[in-house]
């Protein structure tokens, strides 16, 4: 009886597990989110009359099942990783960069310019191309950064507007016939630019007829570590993070908040521009207006899934690339539209963004509100 009043001594097994779970499970929230999204996706496929098991087996085999599939996934993941970094850097600085798509186009236009106008040996031409992409993307993103810093106009709407403007301008550069600007007179449909010089194409291994595993993934890895170092080990990174988490404290500490905002957007844009450079120099060797459609949103998803952690972005980027690569085989096996993957992806983002749901389902302690980065601070304009 007395024992019952005191309560039984916790048996070491389950309590120890519960303790460990409470401690480390928060790190697994993204994994749980992906799992939950896949379950909901399976339910949806089942309810609309599809064979979810065949679909998911196809999805796995098409993305990570064979060496060729893995190579394909890596190639697809490269722009997601780099553009994801672009969103993450802005996010750490308290900015929401929805403009990766426009920045990719702006960077790629510069890449095509130096790729068609300059004649250089590969040793110089490839770095010049990457730098051109970075400059183009940085300049484009800085517009939104400058407007935010100077007038307080919210970067979310401005980056979206800049996306539309970048696509239209790229379209004009490609389609203009009097005179020809970037368009290729040899291409009757005038859907793409001229091909860039052989000397600027990224070297790689030919894995199959259509897939070349190019240098881009190594560039992506390099950028991941560069960003991680920049954010955590440098003064600039400290300023970015301080402005992101507490602008008032940053101002009080003597940091220039407007300058940091422009710098953060420029860094983000430079990264996205390099992502565009990788695609143009490694995969397509030219530019079309449909290359990056939707990539800006994918980049947001990749960054959110990794909680804006640069190392984590490698994994979320690979997951994203894998989902898109595997979707084809899934389509063949289960006769489902590729868009199913888009819905699964949207569900993943939903469960990651609203991790309270996931934490509730899997009994993970809720986050304290201090851990959250707030980016809804009104629309500015005044």
């Amino acid at each position: 009886m007395a024992q019952a009043v005191e309560g039984p001594a916790p048996s070491p097994g389950p309590a120890g597990f519960r303790e460990y779970y409470a401690r480390y499970a928060p790190y697994l929230v993204p994994v749980f989110a992906v799992f939950t999204a896949l379950v909901v996706g399976a339910l949806m496929i089942g309810l609309t009359g599809g064979d979810w098991l065949a679909a998911y087996i196809g999805l796995w085999e098409g993305s990570f099942g064979t060496p060729v599939a893995i190579a394909n996934t890596v190639v697809r993941a490269t722009p997601f990783i780099i553009a994801g970094l672009a969103v993450a850097v802005a996010f750490k600085s308290g900015l929401f960069n929805i403009g990766a798509e426009g920045q990719l186009y702006a960077g790629s236009v510069c890449v095509v310019l130096v790729g068609t106008l300059l004649q250089l040996p590969p040793v110089f031409h490839i770095p010049v191309g990457i730098i051109a992409g970075a400059i183009g993307g940085a300049a484009w993103a800085s517009i939104a950064g400058f407007l935010k810093a100077r007038t307080g106009a919210h970067e979310v709407i401005n980056t979206i507007m800049l996306n539309y403007i970048a696509i239209r301008l790229t379209d004009w550069l490609i389609k203009s016939k009097t005179p020809y600007l970037l368009g290729d007179p040899a291409d009757p449909s005038s859907a793409r630019t001229m091909y860039i010089a052989e000397t600027m194409r990224l070297p790689g291994f030919r894995v199959s007829d259509t897939i070349v595993l190019h240098l881009g993934i190594l560039i992506a890895f390099g950028l991941v570590f560069l960003v991680a170092w920049l954010l955590n080990r440098t003064t600039i990174g400290f300023e970015l993070r301080t402005v992101g988490s507490n602008p008032s404290a940053a101002r009080y500490a003597g940091m220039s908040v407007p300058r940091t905002i422009v710098l953060a957007m420029a860094c983000a844009g430079a990264l996205a521009g390099i992502g565009g450079a990788g695609e143009v120099m490694g995969v397509r060797y030219a530019l079309s207006t449909d290359f990056f459609s939707g990539l800006g949103f994918d980049a947001i998803a990749v960054a959110l899934l990794a909680r804006a952690n640069p190392i984590g972005i490698i994994f979320s980027g690979l997951l994203w690339g894998g989902l898109l690569t595997g979707a084809r085989l899934m389509q063949v096996r289960a006769g489902l539209s590729i868009d199913v993957i888009k819905i699964v992806q949207a569900l993943i983002i939903m469960f990651v963004a609203a991790d309270q749901i996931v934490r509730f389902i899997y009994r993970i302690p809720q986050r304290s509100s201090a851990e959250e980065t707030m980016i809804s601070r009104g629309w500015g304009g005044g």
């Binding site: 007038t151 199913v340 888009k342 569900l347 629309w379």
Partner: protein
């Protein structure tokens, strides 16, 4: 957010500089052509059987340009402050006829068509802006208007394709918009997710779901269907010139006008409106006096989503008669800019929406008139970016400084 005073030129100086530049540009390009024997004439027609104003292009633009220059210059003189303000407003209004006169050089264009096109193309933007007002007045930022519109457009059209009844389609669009809003409300109010992230999630979800819906179901149902019928209002539509322009619209256009008026009345003259505004400005105080903050926010976000869904129906059911991927083309975001332009007031937002509608109408008008600059036709892409650039200008606060509801964007913790 930035409380510090802006450095550099004031807004008045920027506006003055803009008009001085524009005035100089107009004068320098037209002055050599004034008085030439074969002077070009811009014909502005008002209605199809209607009066036609024949304006000599160069002379009219020279006069307007001179007024721009004078008002811009006066605005920089502190002593002439009041006169200059009036002149600046007059100049702003005159920009609209000036653009038409310039575009119609040597040709004829119908002003009334331009006006009715502006009203028509401004409709989804005005609906989106009303959706924004309902959500933000209650303290929830709704950046998902674009996604709600897109889902409304897709599901509304799908429902029409399956049932054959276009009104079922409109109703479905409204309900689906509300459903998306329910997700947004649950994430933002219940789970206190960052409202911008939650809205972005819905936008992404909408792209995925509507794409799936279109490829899986709509493609087979055959495209190119009828759109909502034109409904001339009896008596009013018989007024010459004005009647066909204003009172011969389609149902969602009338619904938009009604909703603008209704939103204003409800927000400022009813108990619910007062509660909505209280919750949006100071939820803690509202809670203290017994208002259920969550209920008000849920309801208002739902209303917001349903209005956005109706805006979606405008695309697929009132205008195109089909559904395409991404057919809302950023109108939901432009609507937010219109809302900010209107300072979160229904009639102001309506004005903003019509301004964007004008840019859209101008884009097609300039294409039809094959306007040339420097001997080469203006690239169509340049005309297409007009509304987007205008949105950025509005957001930069060049038009009017605006402060939104104080609690917008902040989750309420009881």
């Amino acid at each position: 957010m930035m409380a510090t005073r802006r450095r550099g030129p004031t807004r008045r100086q920027i506006v003055a500089g803009f008009f001085i530049g524009l005035g100089l540009l107009l004068i320098s390009t037209t002055i050599s052509r004034v008085g030439q024997a074969d002077s070009t004439i811009s014909k502005l027609a008002f209605g199809v059987p209607g009066p036609v104003v024949q304006a000599p292009t160069a002379l009219s633009l020279l006069l307007i340009g001179s007024l721009f220059l004078v008002s811009g210059a006066l605005a920089l003189v502190p002593a002439a402050r009041r006169v200059a303000t009036w002149l600046l407003w007059a100049s702003t209004v005159l920009i609209f006829p000036a653009v038409l006169i310039w575009a119609a050089a040597g040709k004829q264009t119908n002003v009334m068509t331009m006006i009715s096109e502006t009203l028509r193309l401004g409709t989804p933007i005005a609906l989106g802006a009303m959706a924004g007002i309902w959500a933000e007045r209650s303290g929830v930022i709704n950046i998902a208007i674009e996604g709600m519109m897109l889902s409304g457009a897709a599901f509304g059209f799908a429902a029409f394709a399956f049932t054959g009844n276009i009104w079922v389609g409109v109703l479905t669009a409204v309900l689906v918009g509300g459903l998306m809003a329910l997700i947004h409300a649950t994430l933002a109010i219940q789970f206190k997710t960052d409202q911008i992230i939650s809205g972005t999630v819905i936008n992404i979800l909408a792209i995925g779901v509507t794409g799936y819906l279109r490829r899986q179901f709509i493609v087979d149902s055959g495209g190119g269907r009828v759109t909502l019928p034109q409904v001339p209002i009896p008596l009013l539509s018989d007024i010459p010139i004005l009647g066909p322009t204003l009172f011969n619209g389609k149902p969602i256009f009338y619904a938009m006008v009604t909703l603008v008026v209704l939103t204003h009345l409800v927000l400022f003259f009813t108990r619910w409106g007062l509660r909505t505004r209280a919750v949006g400005e100071n939820p803690r105080a509202a809670d203290t006096v017994g208002i259920n903050v969550y209920r008000v926010r849920y309801t208002d976000v739902l209303i917001s989503g349903m209005i956005a869904g109706l805006g979606g129906a405008w695309f697929s059911l009132e205008t195109v008669g089909n559904f395409d991927d991404g057919m809302t083309a950023g109108k939901g975001f432009i609507a937010l800019a219109a809302m900010i332009f209107g300072k979160w007031m229904p009639f102001g937002a309506f004005g903003g929406a019509m301004l964007f509608g004008y840019f859209e109408a101008l884009q097609t008008r300039l294409q039809i008139l094959k306007v040339e600059i420097g001997g080469a036709p203006v690239p169509v892409q340049f005309l297409q970016i007009l509304p987007y650039v205008a949105t950025m200008v509005v957001l930069a606060g060049l038009i009017g400084r605006a402060v939104g509801p104080a609690a917008a964007g902040k989750p309420y913790e009881k």
